[in-house]
């Protein structure tokens, strides 16, 4: 449905949009360069034919071992035009800094904090760059693939319990 949007995006940003494709189940996806995220988002929101006015759902994925390591995902929706688009932004581990889109959509605030907290991707220009879920004393970013599943960092002394028998369940860690 928003093939037109992809087309328009490619025409407007021939350099920044490296690839567009129709994903599983007909999701429209565009791969965008990290430097141009804010610019592309501003365009997607303001363009009268696109009008992606609802705050996007932002999340990340850690493809450890490949380059760029992180994949930042913006899932957008337009209430005016009733179409969706997904932006994927590759973020390298060496320089995990992306421009914040919170000035564009206020609702991006906590999603970006979530990405910082759990994946360690920093957002430049974010008004409140704190952790979202974990406490300030927490070291590391738990959703990275190299963070162990059971890597608890207790805030207060706990009684030690010998590892009880555990049946089948989450493994690893």
């Amino acid at each position: 449905m928003s093939q037109a949007a992809l087309q328009k995006l490619k025409e407007r940003f021939p350099d920044a949009v490296t690839q567009t494709y129709v994903g599983k189940g007909g999701d429209d996806v565009a791969l965008v360069k990290k430097e141009a995220v804010a610019e592309v988002c501003r365009f997607l929101k303001d363009d009268p034919e696109l009008q992606f006015d609802m705050a996007p759902y932002i999340t990340a994925a850690d493809y450890m071992g490949s380059e760029p390591r992180f994949d930042l995902v913006y899932q957008m929706y337009s209430t005016k035009k009733n179409h969706r688009i997904r932006l994927r932004v590759g973020v390298p581990e060496s320089d995990p800094v992306v421009a914040s889109v919170t000035p564009i959509w206020k609702g991006a605030n906590w999603y970006e904090r979530y990405c910082w907290d759990l994946y360690g991707i920093r957002f430049e220009g974010h008004p409140d760059p704190r952790r979202l879920y974990m406490y300030e004393e927490f070291v590391g970013h738990p959703l990275r693939k190299d963070y162990s599943l059971r890597g608890r960092q207790p805030l207060m002394p706990e009684r030690t319990v010998d590892e009880p028998f555990r049946g089948p369940g989450p493994t690893g860690g």
Binding site: G23, D27, D53, A61, T79, W105, M134
Partner: protein, 412 residues
């Protein structure tokens, strides 16, 4: 009607004060609400800067119920994720099941039988009623109307009894599966559900009579917690909270999934975007859910409740016990998990609080590589500091109720 209540809010003008009547000098005060506070259901910590009773600044601190949903899901098979999704929005767990199942089916490109679709819609709508009943009861309780809680819980228990007959659990039902649902309905269940709905509707009407025209409730909810339509969209509101602000967006109508395009139902839309409108949306949606369930039972035909694709769905039990292929297929799915083709997909459903989206990434293995949740309550909670800026502290409570923040999904 708006006129009447507006007048109540007007403070009579204060006569020219003499120095003797002048108020004491005041200073701003920081008050910490939560994380274990009776009025903050869930576990949110709000640091409120008060000038008298007026909120001048508010900061939210969440994460007191963060239980590592995503990390846990990445370490279990695709099917084992269902119990975790139950506990996202624990008041309406089946809608989470359905949303997740739809994301996986999108990845697998798997079509499911009609009867499974109807069963998913029926159970989803029953759970939507439970969710709204919980919200209304909790709101009543916190505004001082304990009676509403008694009626609401009884109505919810009635629906839960029926769902227990179907799924075996009261609220964490674990009902949907990739490719269908786990169980067909027991004999005579449809009729029982309809009679249950008749009874619970009576209680909903009772709540309606207790609250909707109640002067105290109107005074406390009208004009409090207002968010404009533009702001609501900018914050990413969805569901009843967005519709209360006047934006008629509902995933069930905007991009119908399952069989919602075959059903006749209405989407209530408010005008003011205040707490009272958000409450009214819930009351009306319960009636619409009732309509949907009744239509589904009329339209539903006997048939299979799950797809018969052996790659994704467990074979029927006689086959497992009777043939080596069946046993092998069963073993492989249970031990290794279903092999979901590599790729990524985003699927969303209209949950009780709004658009619930699942972003699933598969690397072709038996476990999710990444499973992100777009929880509707997230955006609502995020906007709370702006909604409450310059308002009274007491208004925070009904606002907190009507945005219906559910700890499980917001803090994952």
């Amino acid at each position: 009607m708006a006129k009447d209540t507006d007048n109540l809010l007007v403070v009579p003008p204060v006569p020219e004060a003499s120095p003797l009547d002048a108020p004491f000098p005041s200073k701003r005060m920081l008050v910490n609400l939560g994380p274990s506070h009776p009025a903050m259901h869930g576990t949110v910590r709000a640091v409120v800067e008060l000038d008298g009773e007026t909120i001048h600044g508010m900061k939210l601190d969440i994460g007191f119920l963060h239980r590592g949903f995503e990390k846990s899901c990445e370490n279990v098979t695709w099917t084992q994720v269902f119990p975790y999704t139950d506990r996202l929005n624990y008041v309406s767990s089946i809608m989470n099941n359905v949303g997740y199942a739809m994301a996986v089916e999108k990845l697998c490109d798997l079509a499911i039988p009609d009867r499974a679709k109807y069963l998913r819609v029926i159970t989803s709508e029953l759970h939507r009623m439970c969710d709204h009943l919980t919200l209304v009861s909790a709101m009543g309780l916190e505004l001082g109307a304990m009676t509403v809680l008694i009626y609401g819980m009884e109505a919810r228990d009635l629906i839960w009894d029926r769902l227990t007959e179907l799924c075996g659990a009261r609220l964490t039902s674990n009902y949907a599966r990739v490719g269908g649902v786990s169980r067909d309905i027991p004999e005579g269940w449809a009729d029982k559900v309809l009679r249950t709905l008749d009874r619970s509707n009576e209680m909903v009407d009772e709540i309606d009579r207790l609250l909707t025209r109640n002067r105290i409730v109107i005074d406390r909810t009208r004009g409090t917690g207002v968010i404009s339509r533009a702001d609501a969209i900018d914050y990413g509101f969805t569901g009843p909270c967005l519709r209360a602000s006047g934006e008629p967006y509902d995933v069930r109508k905007a991009s119908p999934y399952l069989i919602y395009d075959r059903l006749d139902f209405d989407i209530p839309v408010g005008t003011n975007g205040d707490n009272f409108d958000r409450y009214l949306m819930r009351m009306e949606e319960m009636k619409q859910s009732d309509r949907i369930v009744r239509q589904c039972f009329e339209q539903m035909q006997p048939g299979a409740i799950a797809s018969d694709d052996p790659r994704f769905v467990l074979p029927p039990k006689p086959e497992v016990y009777g043939s080596i292929e069946g046993a092998m297929a069963h073993f492989k799915i249970i031990m290794e998990g279903i092999r979901v083709p590599a790729g990524e997909a985003y699927a969303c459903v209209e949950a009780a609080n709004g658009e619930l989206g699942f972003y699933a990434v598969s690397d072709g293995g038996g476990r999710p590589y990444k499973l992100g949740v777009r929880a509707p309550g997230w955006n609502m909670l995020m906007a709370l500091p702006q909604i409450m800026e310059g308002r009274m502290l007491a208004d925070l409570i009904p606002t907190f109720d009507t945005v219906n923040m559910i700890g499980g999904e917001v803090e994952q």
